[in-house]
Amino acid sequence: MKLAWISAVIAGVLGIFLLWLPMSLQAQLVLSFASLGVMFFAMSRPDNKVFRLVTFTFCAILAIRYGFWRSTETLPSISEPANFIPGFILYVAEMYCLIMLGISFFMLSDPLKRKTPPLKKIEDLPTVDVFVPTYNEDPELLAGTLAAAKSMVYPKEKLKIWLLDDGGTEQKRADKDPQKAIAATRRHEQLKALCEAMEVNYLTRKRNEHAKAGNMNEALKVTDGELVVVFDADHAPVRTFMRETVTYFLDDPKLFLAQTPHFFLNPDPLEKNLQTFKNMPSENEMFYSVVQTGLDKWDASFFCGSGAVLRRAALDTTGGFAGQSITEDCETALALHSNGWHSVYINKPLIAGLQPETFDAFIGQRARWCQGMLQILILNRPFLAKGLKMSQRLCYAGINLFWLFPISRLIFMFAPLLYIFFSLEIYQANIQEFCAYALTYLIASFGMQSYLHGKVRWPWISELYEYVQSVMLFGSILSVIRSPRKPTFNVTAKGVTLDNNFISPLARPYFVIFFLLSGAALYSFWRLLTEPVASDLLLMVAGWNAINLSIAALALGVVAERRELRRNQRLPVQRHGLMRQGDKTWSILIKDASSGGIGVQFLDDVPEIEHDSNWQGEVEVRRAGKQVKFPVIIRSGSIVEGENHYGFAYTVRTPEVFMAIAEVMYSDQEILQERINRRQVRQNILTGSWVFAKRSVTETIRAFAYLAGLGKIEPVESAEDAPITVKDNNAQIPGKVMPMPQTMGGNRAEA
């Protein structure tokens, strides 16, 4: 064994020595081909760990060699500051990418696939407190989450559910602004009533200190469960959540965290506006399906704020949830990892939540993540943190450094312009060198991207996501670098409806950049046509700018917001049930469900439902012989390809109905998994590039149409969802937060 180690190290050193030799371009080109050949051959066995490391190693050869060549051969002379300064900035951006590539190779060298440990004795299960922190979310959203939490399979006596309301604190209720004070008081009362009706605990505090972390730390003081489960207000768990997570804590007393991925019911603005939600893998899947599994290998998977189980004893050692940064989740994990605690990542979707619907809300969320991660990088310095293993240091440094991507992305977007407009030669290379070093490295990068993330990220989509964020996050980065302690927590708005198409209020810089890059593309084309000795460099730079332009064009589609009328996000469920009206019964298939209603297909007979009628019925589903019923009213009906589809809304939304909704939507984890699997389909680079280019054109046209006011659509009227009934006397609270104070309605109960 030792001999193998020594031999391998010697081989590696000798290999590095050979790479370090300043070889001819011919040798470098042939080496590139050889490395690419070995790399692609090794990719043919993705499940074989040896082949995986061979793939990584030979891609690393190309990357290291590119980095060395870039550092030693391509920088402009320092005596030409006009070339050198932008050239050096571009170089730094590239080196950042190379470092990130190296860290990602380490992180993803052997992703873990965990198997849930078997449960031995129910008596051994620890007591659990479920925290649902809230600030300004709608009651119906909270009711859905609380109902799903209540539905989790776990001994009742060991499970306590807590709604942690930071929107109804004493501080809020005593606000100097009477309207805010009334709204907070109203929220406090309504949520208390909701919790009471749903038989969960309501908790608020005096002051809103340290945002979400402070809220949960207050809860830690009044609760005593051995484990703490955190669900964001919009994150509803599936029934088996506890079964899949808690058992890990029985096996490892030093385990502080079991984190699960976040599955989203609705598209993010990019998916919504580009209409890719049905087919394309979500952005977060790369993180949750690939990165976190890689981090898990090195005991560095970290807390993501929700959908996680934490050990109270561990939290007690660090004084609870960390609150120095605005990403308390990662900071908390860092502190506990530093104290020798372990984490696991369970790569199964066990919660379903919502993403921000609008582009500005999306940017607001990402700005918080970005600033929070950089706060940790600056204030906690994870690479130097005591108590961490080297592998953990690398992982934390990687996930924090990642958030500097806006700087490199913008540099890559604008660098070509310096040559096109000003002939600044900031990258000193000829076409042969570019082919031997850069092009082969790029091919290797694309190959690795497809190899590692092909199932969860289509070609060029990463670049698009990075670009749309970069334009807005650049300022956030500068702000946090200038004042690392300044950023404050802001809650991401979710569950918003959009009545019409419109251009995002943040769209202006995207249009400006698009025009700039278009001008550069035209000018470079003109130069290529008119300059008799068109240089290799101009050709390369023009091509680079064309790719940037394509990204910028598609980004216009992202900021051209499509309307979103759906108030409640549906989840396809495929659940059999019965529809009853009076003494009539129909066999139905519940095709989808949301907190507002269900989509139904009648399997045998179809009732006569008049158009625009108020046809009502009662749906019954069963679980383990137990009936779950809820009343519904017809909202829509259609026949598509011979199949009937009817939309029903709940006539009332009592706690029982919410429990029934949870039963229909979240009883089966496989539904979430199946939806993920369905979208995780690879797209090759050629198809992906073609689709991307095509959509760049169509989305640019759409964005300019919106800009010209051609995107307006007639508003659609729809029936309101039923209010939430929280008392036996039919006392109700609205599903959505109302703008003005409102007294509780309903009939007075007879005493």
Partner: protein
Amino acid sequence: MQKLKHKLLIAGAYAAISVGTAISPIMAQSLFSNDVAPIKGPTKGIVQSPFAKTENFIMTTRQPALALEDAVVNPTLIAFNQPRSRFKLEGEDALGRFTFQHDMDKAGTIGELVIAYKNAVSVMPEASSLNIKVNGYPVGKFPIASSSEFSAHKFLVPANALVDGTNIVEIQAIQRHRVDCSLAATYELWTEIDFMNSGFLTEDEFTFSDLKSLKMIGRSENGLTDLRLVLPKNSGIGDLNAALPLVQTLSLALGRDDVAVTVSDKSGIGPGIDVYLAAMDRPDLNYPAAANAKHGLSVVQTQDARRVAVVLKAPSIGQATAQLLAGIRGELKPMLDAAISQEKHLEINADAGGVYTLGQAGYTARSFSGRLFRTNFDLVLPADFYPAEYATIDLGLHAATSPGLNPQSQLLVRVNGQIVTSLPMRDTDGEVFEDRRIELPMRAFRPGRNQIEVLAEVEKASDEACVYSERDETAPRFILLENTEIRVPQLARISRLPDLSVFAGTAYPYRNDERLNIYAVHADSRTLSAALTMMSKMTIASGAPLNSQVILGRPDNSDRDNKLVIAPRRAFIQSGPSADDEPHEVSYRIKFYDADWLPDLITTASVESIALPKVTQATPEDLLQAFRHKTQKTATELSTAAVIKQKFDDLTHRFQSWLKYEPAIDSAVTGDIDGRKANLVQTLDDQNNSVVTWLAADTPEDVVRASLILAEPDIWSTVKGSDVTIDLRTKQLSAQLPSDYKVHAFTDKSPSNLRRLAAAWFSDNFIAYIVLIVAFFAFFAVWLGRTIPKAGVRTED
């Protein structure tokens, strides 16, 4: 004072007459004159060396104009020291730098500079001129207007401009084309200075009377410095060997690199030096020329005023060496010291890594207002330099362009005749380059002497019209500054042979203390002349006398020393030392020819006399490609598929050539040279660990002709490879690179040198490099693949 005034008046009259006679023929000259055909320039946009093109005229110097007769016979015309090849000023702004020796005590304090010249017919006199400076003092300027024959101008050089010793004459030729302002047309612009009839005309009558005055000797018609070893009719090889130290010493002391040695039983005619070794104890060595000479080294003026005799006179032949040593320690010492330590103009000696500015090498910056700026300099690299890609030799460019240039302006750098890189200068608003790094690939260089040429193509849109009245020929377009640097990195040091370039550049491996045996296969004076000329080249290249002797016959295996073999049959090279077909019995008596024959290279050269060699590695693939290129022009009805296939084949061939480090396909490749030829071949004697260099031709006449061609410095400096074939008719060289090198010496074993050597060797054998890398990293990766599952959270199955 009266005398001076008188001379000034005479000088003024001379100048006026000279200018008048120079201009008048031009006025009547036709562009279609049969005398001189313009050189066809290369295709627009492609810069090629005009040397590489065959020129269809004879640039003779044999018939000077009548007006020059005075100068020709004037015994006090001191020649310039530079070899003949330096006397051609080409391009729009060419600067020739020449030197002459002056002895104020003997030749007076003033004199006249005589410039005889002839120019290309395409040079426009109205816009072209020669500007003359002596030691920085402007002494004259006149229009370039002598396209039909050589004409001379004389300028008085005042006393304050002259120095005792070496004087520097700068001749700047500003030349513009009559009708064409394109880049290509600039190659048609040249002015040739008549090397025989130009020089310094002394104030007083001057005779060669001491060793110092040898530096003033003129050149023969061949343009070479003639050094003739005169031996008695019945002398043997021992007499010749006794004179070798004297010949070597004089070769060195002259400070010239174009010395041609002849061996004869008669004294020479015309400019040159006769060398005599006189011994009192040998009546046959008691020459008439030495009758009045004192013991030791002395100089005797011959009857021919342009020729001088150098006599080493000793009481006995055995004491000749002692007498020579006394001379070396005495009168010759300053000459030898100056010759060995002299820094040549525009030459950078880079024995190790370092930074050198062009200014240090003697380059002088000046604004350039033409279309194609050209300047060149030599870079001398060490003998054990291994050219490969472990680094680049960098040009740190300091230059500027003016506004208004075409955007396709560019700067090109040519190394040893091949363009290796270009720098676009697209900024039409003018551009300043401050230390812009231009990488010159190391593989383009070779051990020994390398020529670097910097060209700047700086055309303007107005050049296309080329209307004389609208031309602005004075506005500067480009300037290359003196602080432009050549940065030589640390070099991989290992001497590899065979390599004729290092042999020619530094006389490696013959310059060390080991004995060098020079074999003359035939004992005739022509073969021996070639042998001594080669020995003289070696001596000058190494900067020190060689420990050598001439041996008659062919080398055999018993000789363990390095060898230089002069063979009058080329077949000897192939047959080797054991061949039994040698037709000539070895004789120890030198055979002198009745006719005092010396080949006249001018009369037999039908093309331009200064030619750089082409490397023609005539592999079958190259020949096939060249054939296809030739036949391609006639195939006008190729199908589209055939055209595509042809393009693809060309591309593939180019790529394969590139992979093999072969230069781009030259359509002129034929693989052979027609007619009379000679070979310079270097082989390794593995048995004796020695190096054998052959100069072989088919006759003694040819072998001496080959030696004279090689004596021309510009040809000598381009010798490379392991086998150079010399076309004796055209002077074209064809060099063949060795199929394999062998390590001859390896002294620097430092880690950094080992690394550079590894890089160099692997670059030449990169399949081995790639196999090793793949093997090492695959092994490492497999180990990683087995180790990582056991690290962190264990995942091994």
